[in-house]
Subunit: 186 residues, 2 copies
DNA sequence: GTCAATGCAAACATTTTGCAACTCT
DNA sequence: AGAGTTGCAAAATGTTTGCATTGAC
């Protein structure tokens, strides 16, 4: 879906996928849960995507590969994968939750372009350091963070030097989308 | 709802509420929109809360004060207030959106205790500085950020010195809290 | 053989929308 | 007067759940 989403040499990749599978299997076993075909397929699909995705997209992707699983199972399994630490939730919009697999990747956070929606990842090391510092100041024990920078990517900045925030992503949409004439009144 | 939620001397407060009203009025006028009683009431209610709230809560609060507005209007107006910069969206859970008015306050971000849900605010200056730095590195023009630290507050850290993350907030809810491992293991 | 997992559809919760009546400006 | 606004209830989302059936261990 994007130019070069892969962040790892394909050699390491298989290795990592395998390790993730083992991790998940153990995680399930420890809890008396089962490693089913569906769960295996879903993990496979997740690990095969280096993009951010939403539940429905994953489902669609799997259907294209002739892997048939129910929507509910996807949701249920994603939840497990999050608990297990292989997948992370990302909250870009206020709508659906996005996911990304983070297993075998360096921790990173995201920049979101408000105009074109492009997403840029950046190393989270500095953020993590700052978070620990801030937490300590408040006697808080930091376990994780969510960080997101919103703004304009290089391209969009150029094409809109000053544009007084003219119609940024997320602005209100026009009225009538497309309506069909008819009697609706109750 | 909390010890000392107010962050401003009451004197400044009225001043700020008034300024916010003006800001909103201008914002509306500039766009050919109207400053209606409902919008005024909603802004009032919003400015009267130093807490984070969700749409439905605000509605409830207003009803208690005999201010009757429709739910749809609340949603529509909150959206305007966000656009206007008086209100900010906060995303604590994956469920509903939370809001807070930020007008006249120092920018801050939040720490969320995973155990008790407590929310601690902290100055966002350092975060903002870091965000600008990171953005510049990627030739990105930062306009805003979302930052949230998840972990354990002081109290909860004490009451759970090491607790291997036993049932943190946000964990799965179903199933009985602590069940006996019957015949797992094979 | 058991207990958990699946798929489906119905249930949910939150937010958005269409529309007729109504109100600022 | 007229464009914008309101409230209501219906619709739209995205996610979860109940339950009978299927499947892993």
């Amino acid at each position: 879906m994007q130019p070069m989403p892969t962040r790892l040499p394909p050699a390491d990749r298989d290795e990592i996928v395998r390790t993730a599978e083992n991790l998940f299997r153990e995680f399930l076993r420890d809890r008396g849960l089962k490693y089913t075909d569906e769960r295996e397929d879903i993990l496979g699909a997740v690990m095969g995507t280096d993009e951010h995705f939403e539940a429905e997209q994953l489902l669609f992707l799997m259907r294209q590969q002739n892997l048939r699983v129910g929507k509910a199972t996807v949701y249920r399994t994603l939840k497990l994968l999050v608990e297990c630490g292989i997948v992370k939730e990302v909250h870009f919009s206020n709508k659906q939750v996005h996911y990304e697999h983070t297993y075998g990747q360096d921790p990173h956070d995201h920049m979101v372009c408000r105009r074109c929606g492009r997403i840029i990842e950046f190393d989270a090391k500095d953020v993590a350091r700052l978070r620990t510092l801030i937490a300590a100041e408040h006697r808080f024990h930091a376990l994780a963070h969510r960080f997101q920078i919103m703004g304009l990517c290089e391209t969009c900045t150029k094409s809109c030097p000053i544009g007084p925030q003219a119609r940024l992503l997320g602005g209100r949409k026009k009225k009538r989308p497309n309506k069909e004439p008819g009697t609706r009144r109750t």
